[in-house]
Subunit: 183 residues, 2 copies
Amino acid sequence: MDRRQKKTREAIFNAFCELLSKKHYDQITVGQIIESADIGRATFYAHFETKDFLLKELCEELFCHVFDATVAGGEAHRHIFECDAPSSAFLHLLQHLQNNDRGILNLLVCENNELFLRYFKKSLKELINHQLPNICEKKPEELPDSFWVNHISATFVETVRWWIENGMREDPETLSDYFMTVI
Amino acid sequence: MDRRQKKTREAIFNAFCELLSKKHYDQITVGQIIESADIGRATFYAHFETKDFLLKELCEELFCHVFDATVAGGEAHRHIFECDAPSSAFLHLLQHLQNNDRGILNLLVCENNELFLRYFKKSLKELINHQLPNICEKKPEELPDSFWVNHISATFVETVRWWIENGMREDPETLSDYFMTVI
DNA sequence: AAAAATACTGTACAATAAGTTCGGTATAGA
DNA sequence: TCTATACCGAACTTATTGTACAGTATTTTT
């Protein structure tokens, strides 16, 4: 990829993240992104069709990174339900979040973050679906699969949301315990 | 209240609900609401400061109605956790939703309904907080109260969301069972 | 029934933002 | 060095928001 393109794309992402930490997605205009990234108007539209696509690509990049890092590194065959293992996939995710990779927390801390959480949940569902056989072992048999998967991922997301809303005072281990308890 | 005001307000709500069933909240313009409700531009702004306030008031009216009806009618002293009672508060809510009071389902069925669900969850949390003593009986003692309340209401909302997303094929009783199972 | 108050109409208007166009400049990669 | 292409920047169209105001209709009060 052209070095210029990479630089511009990065500048847009950085500007967007910084703005997201300050105000709600809806309140951010393309003009502000342009000004903050210090690029031309036409350049922005050469990279992203709309603001929505920008968010989409940013989220995909972020989650791709976090989830890949979680699955990799010898953890490939562990799964989210090894609740006794101190290094479960869930815990790994939380630790990644706590590291605040690329200001990811700015996105989570901001007041209205439905869109972000939607992408979060979507990625999570895909992860969980890959582990469906393991997960079904724990499932009460009267529940439909899709209900169960939805419940797991939604609870995961809600756990993280609660964590952030309350100032992230608990450490990832404690939070992981909370999650395992309600599941 | 002036008959004219009531009529106009109603016309706006109806137009808004109909539009919400067809497209995402963000895609709806004040102009479309005005056209659909067949009122003057200034009239809209005389009733609602912004589109956000319109949504807010609509949600409040809807939930106020549903929750009041749930709590009233001899059910006042029942609570959401009487899982064995066929007429638990949860079941009541589901039945209300199924009746599709005032096209409430149009709001839920539409593709992007985060805002609506946010208000839904907010109302729910208030309801649950009123029943906090009962709920804490069931709570695993190591969990913080707020985490538990959040988990209950989030699971409730997610249950309904899943229901709708899958075409509402289950009857309220079955869905109520699912909910009780995962809780 | 007359008068006063209030709600609605409809057009016009300013302000802001989105997204496009295009000629010119700068830079990457061969 | 040459060529392709990414960027610049300004102008422009279109769409939407929110306000203003003069005139009309309806409700409420006297």
